[in-house]
Amino acid sequence: MQIQVHQFIPTPLAETFSNTSDIWKKDNLEIGNHAVTSIVSESGKGKSSLLSSIYGIRKDYYGSISIDGTDTKSFELLQWSILRKNRLSMVFQSLQLFPELSALDNILLKNSLSNHKTDKEILQMLEKLGMLPYKDQSAASLSFGQQQRIAILRALCQPYETILLDEPFSHLDDTNAKIAWELILQESNKQSAKVVITGLSENDFFKADQVLKL
């Protein structure tokens, strides 16, 4: 999957953006063409806006985003649905879990779209992230860190060519973050998929092939 931004800048940042950015207002910049791309900046500099715009949730930007050569603004709803089901996955900063559903059901809800994982594989992944004991608890009753792990697992339960991770470890301790990262890499390698991850700074437990600063 080729994701390219051209002269891109989120509308709210158009007035204040810094010329030193590796992304804003650049011509035909490809994002996620390496195995792991890390996008780093301080808070409020537009990391989430960028990922949300690529994922098609936000449309308030200047310039253009294209996926496989087609401007995403011309995508039909069905195209987005197919894309999000089979080719592009995302862990949202705000997680977007269903609080009334159990941890497991949150994952199953996503998995049922493509039946990418078997129930057994899902349970194994839950166990790997230390979430098996909490699988039947409602998402609302979990801590934010636990919810983050459920959101990561959910994003892994679909086929994808690129996965967008929006500060996925913000509420995880290093140990749990490392375990989660390994799982993400493992799943992505299996599918030869690219990883795009945002964060406040470069993490010391993983090495990105490309680092873009906002």
Partner: protein
């Protein structure tokens, strides 16, 4: 699971009330349509209950007619104009005799010699309401069949006979009596035997067959110019309609509208059924609006969850389907419930109508079944589209 997220958390009480409203509305609507088919369309076709109305019209007599300034005859132009009116199905001309007619007795022991001038009129057979084999004139015989208004006999029996202490006469006895007639004109005089062969409720006149009248007018009639018919018989499809009465008064015609009772009853029934139908339709529309609004409200309440589902790759039509299927089930249940209620009510109504002499069709009208299914389909599709549009709106936001 999708259903659990976007449907089960909703408060659904209002849907229950909307369903009851829809059931009542559809039931009233369907039963009025069924009755419309039973009482109006079917009976009009069979003419069993509501016969076509035969109306005799003439020009109003005024002083000018009396002093012969104005003719009471209908000109060809006037006849054509009447024939072309929407409410006139057929038009027949009532032909008067243009020769002298007299009834007489020769003076036997029982009756003194007697002679009285009288008149005949005739209408084409298709306008007659008698079905007698004797209603036939043969030029070779000197017999003429006569039909008189049933009212004449009543007038004699209950007016004259009783006051004069004379015996009353039944229709059967009256039909046995032969009378002698003389018709004369153009210097010729013919003696004929006549007999009452039937009684009419339709035309207030002494009637002879049209063929006899044409022959006699030709043979004995005055050859005056412009002898136009002064009475016409109309077959009307709706003589109680305001347009008909207006046409009559505009042209200074008068008609015996007493005979239009069946048509008035028909119109009254149509009005009552139309009102019931409109009430049913209003209730259906109201309940339908409640459904639309309730679904909009529910979708809007679930918009957070719907948005999340859209984010993780669900297509809006998949999500909308949950609501559409539930609405479809409700509408289908309401439809069947109202049809079952209709069948039960129809049995009761059939019995009630039977008691007062109306036999209605036992089965549901095919028309009703088609209309009811169409209404239900329209109700379903309209809200299904509304639901889809709202989901689409959420997805494109």
């Amino acid at each position: 699971m999708v259903q659990r997220i976007i449907w089960k958390t909703q408060k659904k009480g209002v849907l229950f009330f909307a369903s009851i409203g829809m059931f009542i509305g559809l039931f009233i609507l369907f039963i009025s349509i069924q009755l419309y088919f039973d009482l109006i369309i079917v009976t009009n076709k069979d003419k069993d209950i509501f016969q076509k109305d035969y109306i005799v019209i003439n020009k109003k007599i005024s002083l000018l007619n009396t002093v012969k300034f104005l003719s009471t005859g209908f000109s060809d132009k006037e006849i054509d104009s009447i024939r072309n009116q929407a409410f006139v199905e057929r038009l027949g001309i009532i032909t008067p005799n243009r020769y002298k007619v007299g009834a007489y007795t020769d003076g036997t022991q029982d009756f003194p010699e007697f002679y009285a001038e009288m008149f005949f009129e005739s209408v084409p057979d298709e306008y007659m309401d008698i079905n007698s084999k004797e209603w036939y004139w043969d030029q070779k015989s000197n017999f003429i069949p006569i039909v008189i208004p049933r009212d004449y006999l009543k007038l004699y029996n209950f007016g004259f006979a009783q006051s004069q202490n004379l015996p009353q006469i039944s229709e059967e006895i009256a039909s046995r009596a032969m009378s002698d007639f003389i018709i004369e004109g153009q210097g010729q005089k013919l003696r004929l035997k006549g007999k009452i062969v039937g009684f009419t409720d339709r035309i207030n006149s002494i009637l002879v067959p049209q063929s006899f009248m044409d022959w006699a007018n030709q043979k004995l009639g005055r050859k005056t110019k412009g002898d136009s018919p002064s009475r016409l018989i109309l077959v009307c499809n709706d003589p109680a309609s305001p347009s008909f009465t207006k046409y009559l008064s505009d042209n200074n015609y008068e008609a015996n509208l007493q005979q239009t009772k069946s048509s008035r009853l028909n119109t009254l029934l149509q009005i009552v059924l139309s009102i019931v139908l409109i009430i049913g339709l209003l209730i259906v529309l109201l309940a339908f609006m409640v459904f639309i609004v309730s679904f909009k409200l529910m979708i809007s309440k679930a918009s957070d969850s719907i948005n999340k589902l859209l984010l993780i790759g669900y297509h809006y039509t998949v999500l909308a389907k949950t609501y559409i299927i539930i609405y479809g089930i409700i509408i289908l249940l309401v439809y069947f419930l109202s049809m079952i209620s209709l069948i039960i009510s129809k049995d009761i109504l059939n019995q009630l109508f039977k008691d007062i002499g109306f036999v209605l069709n036992e089965e549901l009208a095919i028309g009703l079944i088609i209309i009811s299914i169409s209404i239900t389909v329209v109700l379903f599709i309209s809200n299904a589209i509304s639901i889809l549009m709202q989901f689409r709106k959420l997805a494109t936001k």
